[in-house]
Symmetry: C2
Subunit: 366 residues, 2 copies
Amino acid sequence: MTKRAISIATVAAEAGVGVGTVSRVLNGSDQVSEATLKRVLSTIERLDYRPLRSASSLSKGRTDAVGILVSVITRPSVMARLVGVIDVLSDAGLDAVVFNVENRAQLDRHLSSIIDQRRVDGIISISLRIPKERIARIRKLSIPLVLVDNSLPNLPCVYIDDVEGGKMATEHLLSLGHRRIGFIGDNARSDLGMSASENRYAGYLMALEAAGIEPDFDLVARGPHSSEAAAVLASALFELRKRRPTAIFASSDTLAVGVIKAAQQHRHKIPDDLAVIGFDNLEVSSILDISTVNQPLLESGIKGASKMVSLLNGEIAKPHREQLVLDVVPRGSSLGIQGNIPTKLYGVVEGPHGLQILQGGEELVS
Amino acid sequence: MTKRAISIATVAAEAGVGVGTVSRVLNGSDQVSEATLKRVLSTIERLDYRPLRSASSLSKGRTDAVGILVSVITRPSVMARLVGVIDVLSDAGLDAVVFNVENRAQLDRHLSSIIDQRRVDGIISISLRIPKERIARIRKLSIPLVLVDNSLPNLPCVYIDDVEGGKMATEHLLSLGHRRIGFIGDNARSDLGMSASENRYAGYLMALEAAGIEPDFDLVARGPHSSEAAAVLASALFELRKRRPTAIFASSDTLAVGVIKAAQQHRHKIPDDLAVIGFDNLEVSSILDISTVNQPLLESGIKGASKMVSLLNGEIAKPHREQLVLDVVPRGSSLGIQGNIPTKLYGVVEGPHGLQILQGGEELVS
DNA sequence: TCCCAATTCGGAACCGGTTCCATGGCATGA
DNA sequence: TCATGCCATGGAACCGGTTCCGAATTGGGA
């Protein structure tokens, strides 16, 4: 309706060169003489010309965008990974197209639209299991696929050993002398294949067995992934009275928060009456002084996206499959040492309108 | 390298029709006879053909993608809005391209690349102020722009009245008899223009003035947006001994968590020694029984994205500028009523391997 | 039986870049 | 001086869809 947007032809005409030359300038070819380069660049500048993305996508045969499949995105752990992924892609000049997946049907719909329409150059899957037949199809089209927080043979992925993590958490409680250790985890969701909680449960069982303790399934409870649900489940475990657990391993910090809240309601002192350990080392566990198993969340996203960038550059992702390390972070909820608030580098100063902590003390990522 | 992907020409040849006809079938034109329609459809099915996104983008002149600019994405409040946006866009068949913005330079870089290369059809900005000159440019190119958690004249936006919210929170504390009310908020960040905390502070001052209370700037503190920082600041306020606040308004729930933690460390009973109210009504405030001001986070994303969908369909976004309502959610941290854990619909049942809360009781969004 | 309008359809032109090939100019070496 | 070769360059062909125009077919009415 208004005047037509300037195209590469306009620039070429204006600069008195051919379209090929302008294209070469845009793509930084060295086949252009100094003088022409300068002239074309100044024309581009003067006309404020930018090549149209979809046109270059069409002829180049790639989109410079990466699709990110994310399970229930609201979980803080998932989010941390996502942030890592987005930041790396953005630095590499790639668009991050995010697809939120909440059930199997959505997963299928998104996958087929992504794959078949080639709207992205690669796919990163976060905390999600992709069905076998889809993987085969992706392979056949040779679209790079990277798994984050998941592992499959022959595919580049970044993952942790959830079984080992569950074992570590349980061993921590065992080492403190606990024998009746409860487990609170997520409902198994076979549709999306988020198996972290169940794997941690497996580790829990292994640790108990190694310690010669018969597992008591009355101390095991599962529910939706929310603090509220965990609190309800913990309350149910407390109803066992004498037979109640002296310690609980919650398969994520979000659940651990609920457990602690329930314990407070029931007037159980932490950690004397009930020790608690969570998983993930979310910010909330630090401030609430909850023991946990640390896993590098942000890092998993960063490493996963880096692999994708390598693959798109035709390189081979250096460590093809990468397992990140876990470590127990003991805090007040199991040790009972009154941990002080971590002041880190924070320095409180007198500001213009009250007290102030100056920025930069903040844990900035990049 | 391998056999060339099938194109619309292949389908046309195979079905014995012209490319135009195939295109009409793809786009649901009614200018196609029943018989041809069926034949083309079956050919498409047989060849498993899908039109290439970038090709159709080029000729249609649109990308069917929306750019989402997000401030520091890690904040739960921002995340909730983002989820709302993504879900609505996804339902409308639009790609969500997410850009994480952590400083002014990034904002500029992303904006120019988005706008100039026309890689998206519209832009949604979440909790972010777009510089005036950029807005002008976006307007000139007539690219739809929707603001979420921000408001500017003549632009479609979804927002709340932060000043009013700050007033409501403070009035809640005043109504409980508190006179020495502290404020803990974020550092002002002029670069990204996230002014929510400062606006809530303005409301705090207004409420105090309306109650005839002289503001005491010794009770005001600002720092980075984290629980840890808030805990440190709250501790500093407690050092005032006799002059210390009897209540604190934290400009977000994340900060309120830190305040409560600090109070516990200092052996201040909540709410008797110290009442606390936050802002946002995050999940954590519910489980920790923290009073707060509820704002519809998910809804803001949903409404913002809906406006975008309307705009892209050439319609006019119905309520052009939409202000969402706030309401105080009084909980234990100010009222002191021992709120029980909200059990909602949760029913605990005996599962195959321990107790279980069946899914569906979970607060599913869509 | 003939004419006109409506319906359906084929295919060229086009969207705006990229790439490859042919060309012309210049320098170098014999 | 001429042959050789390299480098810079113009421009056609192409990427894979969409759209529009003109043609062919059909049906109905006179």
